[in-house]
């Protein structure tokens, strides 16, 4: 059984729905996930599976309406974030939970210097004066490996490369040593060599600051690199959740197996093994098929799959899966 010393963040049966002109979109539909202090948890899934919405739900950054919470709770240190007032939520953001985004090109304000924007975080949460905040900003830039930070603080975002900007974003997010960092595809928009640097940086900072990380990505390589536990999402639900090594060694869900076989592996030979794809496309969460959402794409579907969605059950210690066949195998 998977035991965490104390659950820092505990998402319980979260349901984030959107009212759209086409009907109700169940972007996150009954997700439960725990993150312990200093733990790195990965969430993987194809585009549109609700992983970003989940992160934005935690920070309360979704526009409401159209979004609303149909149920569940998000416990952060045993307090339900969904019940927080806007101002309480604002104080929490950046201070205890912060987030980095996929697109470092547009995540910085083009009309202010990098230093200016970093300073702001210290001024908002630490109530520091300008000079002090600037010094902190320079220190933080040095910490995320930006060369010549004294000079860089005076530069504008357009003067920095993508990798540098993502470092600045990480500096902003970690400025106040938050307990939890939500990383929404932090490496997707970067070159492969820069990706490795950013992952390395995040791992190093995590050790140094003891920050827990919720890593949202569709890159299984990144997940294997730094996470201890992974959840696989599909149409707003968790399909499988397991310790990372366990998931890669013995995936139980056909969807997870599909994801794993659809990426090239270094140890596979080109002659004997070919990449396989998962048939079909991810259905829109606004127009889901009846019954079990993955059933139409599942190569191993059985009769019961058509009728009813399987619940997430523990198949092996610490390894939960939502599949009729896997859970009772």
């Amino acid at each position: 059984m998977w035991v965490v010393s104390s659950r820092m963040l505990s998402i319980r049966n979260l349901k984030t729905y959107f009212r759209t002109p086409k009907g109700l979109a169940r972007a996150v539909d009954g997700v439960s996930l725990d993150i312990g202090p200093g733990e790195v948890v990965g969430v993987v899934g194809e585009s549109g599976c609700g992983k970003s919405v989940m992160a934005l739900s935690i920070l309360g950054l979704l526009p409401r309406p159209p979004a609303y919470f149909a149920g569940g709770e998000i416990l952060f240190n045993d307090q339900d974030l969904l019940k927080f007032k806007p101002d309480e939520m604002r104080r929490l953001r950046g201070n205890q939970i912060s987030m980095i985004f996929q697109e470092p090109m547009s995540a910085l304000n083009p009309v202010f210097t990098v230093g200016n924007q970093l300073q702001e975080v210290f001024q908002v949460h630490r109530n520091l004066g300008r000079a002090e905040a600037l010094q902190n900003a320079i220190d933080m830039l040095a910490k995320v490996g930006v060369p010549a930070p004294e000079r860089r603080v005076r530069e504008y975002p357009y003067q920095l490369s993508g990798g540098m900007r993502q470092r600045v974003m990480i500096a902003m997010a970690l400025a106040c040593r938050p307990a939890l960092l939500l990383a929404d595809e932090p490496t997707t928009a970067l070159d492969v060599s820069i990706q490795a640097q950013i992952i390395e940086l995040m791992t190093a900072l995590k050790e140094e600051l003891d920050t827990a990380i919720l890593l949202i990505t569709h890159d299984l390589g990144v997940v294997a690199e730094i996470t201890r536990r992974v959840a696989v999402m599909y149409t707003g639900k968790i399909m499988e959740e397991a310790p990372t090594l366990d998931l890669f060694d013995a995936p139980l869900h056909p969807y997870t197996r599909g994801l794993l076989t659809s990426i090239p592996r270094a140890d596979a030979s080109f002659e004997t093994e070919s990449l396989t794809e998962i048939k079909g496309v991810v259905p829109s969460v606004a127009a889901l098929p009846p019954g079990y959402h993955f059933e139409p794409r599942c190569p191993e579907a059985i009769d019961i799959c058509r009728a009813q969605a399987p619940a997430l059950e523990e198949a092996r210690p610490g390894h939960r899966v939502a599949c009729w066949r896997a859970a009772h195998a």
Partner: protein, 305 residues
């Protein structure tokens, strides 16, 4: 004497914006068009404030014997009336100089009124959205649906015509343009990731609106504002022509154009010279506005190092 520690914090944003303006001015100095516009505009403003030191004529004094005297370089002209006289024998130069005060004041004050109201309402409308947005935009629709001249005439008829009322009316009838432009820009800017990023580090809504959104929607407003100053000066002349503007006999560029229109075949200077004054003023403002827009965009700024 012993100020509370929070006090310097209060001026934080002010200082940040002053620094931004310092950089902007330096960038402005590098653009030849903006410098030319700025110098010309400073000259116009300076002249309109100080001309009485050098040229002390009465704009209302009539010399009926010297009616329609041409400018001094033309046959029949004299240095007594450097730019000639109008149909009542009034000095055209001094009337243009006095008119500059009225036109510039009405033009800028109205744009400031319109800009102030439009920017505030547009920012609120675009950023907060929802019901606030609907209410503000429906009021704007009402203003748009109402013919400008009719609105102006009815307000002036009720309030009476004075420069102050004219500024108020021109400003109030023009705020919609700014509010809509700002709202549109805000709608696109607030979806940018840097706004989300600012929210994700716990920045207050008010600070996001003023620091992250406002500077990014400023450039269309600067360009619009400079164009509107020109329009307002022309509207003012139209209203003065109808007797709804600045009360006569105070000279304005607009009224000079309107009155000189009758004599255009005999006395070209009556319309050409005030027209030239309007043109030069507007040209200088536009050059300055264009330069300012470029200077406010850090990507077009040339930063050494």
């Amino acid at each position: 004497m012993n100020r509370p520690a929070a006090s310097p914090e209060r001026f934080r944003h002010l200082r940040a914006s002053l620094r931004l303006w310092g950089e902007t001015l330096r960038a402005l100095a590098r653009s030849p068009g903006a410098v030319a516009g700025g110098v010309l505009f400073a000259l116009i403003i300076g002249t309109s404030i100080c001309f009485q030191i050098f040229y002390t004529k009465d704009p209302l004094a009539q010399d009926l014997l010297a009616r329609l005297t041409p400018p001094f370089w033309q046959e029949g002209g004299s240095l007594a009336y450097p730019l000639g006289t109008d149909n009542l024998g009034r000095d055209v130069l001094v009337r243009i100089l006095y008119g500059s005060r009225v036109s510039l004041m009405v033009g800028f004050a109205s744009v400031l009124v319109a800009c102030g109201a439009g920017i505030a309402l547009g920012l609120i409308s675009g950023y907060y959205g929802g019901r606030t947005d609907s209410v503000i935009m429906r009021v704007a629709d009402v203003f748009m649906a109402y013919p400008f001249m009719l609105l102006t005439i009815s307000i002036i008829a009720v309030l009476g015509n004075s420069i102050f009322n004219l500024i108020l009316v021109l400003g109030l009838s023009d705020w919609v343009t700014y509010a809509r432009t700002i709202r549109g820009s805000v709608l696109s800017i607030k979806e940018k990731e840097f706004v989300l990023a600012a929210r994700s580090v716990g920045t207050r809504n008010r600070v996001i609106l003023l620091r992250h959104v406002f500077p990014n929607v400023l450039s269309p407003i600067l360009v619009l504002g400079t164009v509107r100053v020109a329009n307002i000066i022309i509207w003012e002349s139209g209203l003065s022509f109808l007797g709804m503007g600045v009360p006569p006999p105070m000279p304005t560029w607009g009224r000079m154009l309107a009155e000189g229109r009758v004599y255009i075949t005999d006395a070209w200077w009556l319309v050409t010279l005030p027209g030239l004054a309007i043109m030069l003023t507007i040209l200088s403002i536009n050059l300055l506005g264009d330069g300012l827009r470029d200077a406010l965009d850090p990507r077009l700024r040339n930063i050494p190092g």
